[in-house]
Subunit: 257 residues, 2 copies
């Protein structure tokens, strides 16, 4: 069975999106109705399970036990990250350490696995590539969270400020609150009765975060993670593949959709 | 990492139950509120994902690649079986071949994996044990489907006839319909507008199936599968382990809850 790492990554990413939309009750993704809306929650859960199983199967038949072991580690961490995110949803105390813990598990672990698995036969390269993947995972997720406040809904296909409405306190808001205790109190009040929240009060906070330095600071944090990712590649000999990885890292923090 | 096959089977079974209850909107299991009712759909989906990943991880770290490969096959088949069951739910044409296809995938594949994995180093034993597992899987699922019509709700903790209400046409009903075209028409009419269905018409069909020869014939089919399972064990040398497998097979078809 020939299957590329990219395809396995895609299967796992699809599994996550399918389950996420069931969990959040998501209705649109990139402007199109979600699978759960079109085919029902049941079919979305099961198709996600199938994608997960199929990814594990593909790697199991690659015949490389360390690849299977590290993948099962990554998938376990992903599930833990999602549980952690759900557990703290609506907890109105913005906390950067906890934010990183969640995005490391729910996003960066999978990208790190994809980046490192090709290098497993050469341990020192694999470590650098794993770190590269983690850093672009952070950059990717933070850029995503910035877009939630500052993106053009026409490009992203999502309602602005959806994360806050779902009770998810992301980096732009956390950084804005660090500089504005009044904002932090407003968030606390908004989420006093738990997510989901909506209405004018939510709208006002979204506008306040969007106009705050939090957005720019978070965007810069994404760029820093992308540059840290690039720095890991110094371990690799120069090649067109390495150039592509550099380009990938930088494009991740510059995404607009 | 030391983990028994039974624990891996338990993790995968738990994952299936957690996701099944989300898919069916199940409220009670063995008389107690389901996880989705207590903790929400999101937590139930994610905890199921975690159990699935943790099971794969445990086997991956056992260091036996064939065990990982066959487990990922079984999990893929389980997801396919659940999708197939959901796709045909409410299809009012009872069909024995399709019923077996679904239960092979959703129930028997996992039990067959658990039964055979210990025998993998000895291929001829592994084949017999796999067949043993499939047959007790059939026996287990058919016995479960019989209980849905003929069990004591006090023992099973479930509403009688829930399968029919969810649009699942199981062996007792299929065998009853084979002998009663009027019943088949009534089922067709009941499910004309798709599941879930409820009310007096559903109640009447459940009572008709419960009083039909379908229940007894299905119970006998479960026993036959259990005996076919026992017959596979002739390949194994006599031992107390083999005696326990015989006892297990027979107890499966005699279950009352």
């Amino acid at each position: 069975m020939r299957i590329t790492i990219a395809a396995v990554g895609e299967l796992l990413h699809t599994a996550t999106l399918l389950h996420d939309d069931v969990i959040d009750g998501g209705e649109f993704r990139r402007g199109r109705p979600t699978a759960r809306l079109q085919y029902g929650n049941g079919m979305a859960v099961l198709t996600g399970d199938f994608c997960l199983a199929r990814a594990m199967q593909a790697i199991a038949y690659s015949g490389r036990l360390p690849a299977v072991q590290t993948l099962s580690d990554a998938v376990t961490r992903m599930a833990e990250g999602e549980v952690a995110q759900l557990e703290i949803a609506g907890d109105a105390a913005p906390d950067k350490a906890r934010y990183y813990l969640v995005i490391e598990r729910k996003t960066a672990a999978l990208i790190a696995w994809c980046a490192s698995v090709g290098g497993l036969p050469a341990p020192e390269r694999s470590v650098a590539l794993h770190r590269y993947g983690l850093e672009i995972g952070y950059a990717f997720q933070i850029a995503d969270d910035v877009l939630d406040y500052a993106g053009d809904p026409h490009d992203t296909g999502k309602t602005r400020g959806q994360d806050l409405r779902d009770g998810k306190l992301t980096l732009p808001l956390i950084l804005a609150c660090e500089r504005d205790p009044g904002l932090q109190r407003a968030v606390h009040q908004l989420l006093a009765h738990g997510p989901p929240v909506d209405g004018e009060a939510a709208e006002a906070i979204v506008a306040r975060v969007a106009a705050s330095p939090g957005v720019e600071l978070a965007a810069r944090a994404a760029e820093t993670h992308a540059e840290t990712a690039v720095a890991q590649l110094a371990e690799l000999p120069p090649s067109s593949a390495r150039d592509a990885l550099v380009e990938l890292a930088r494009s991740v923090s510059r995404r607009v959709s």
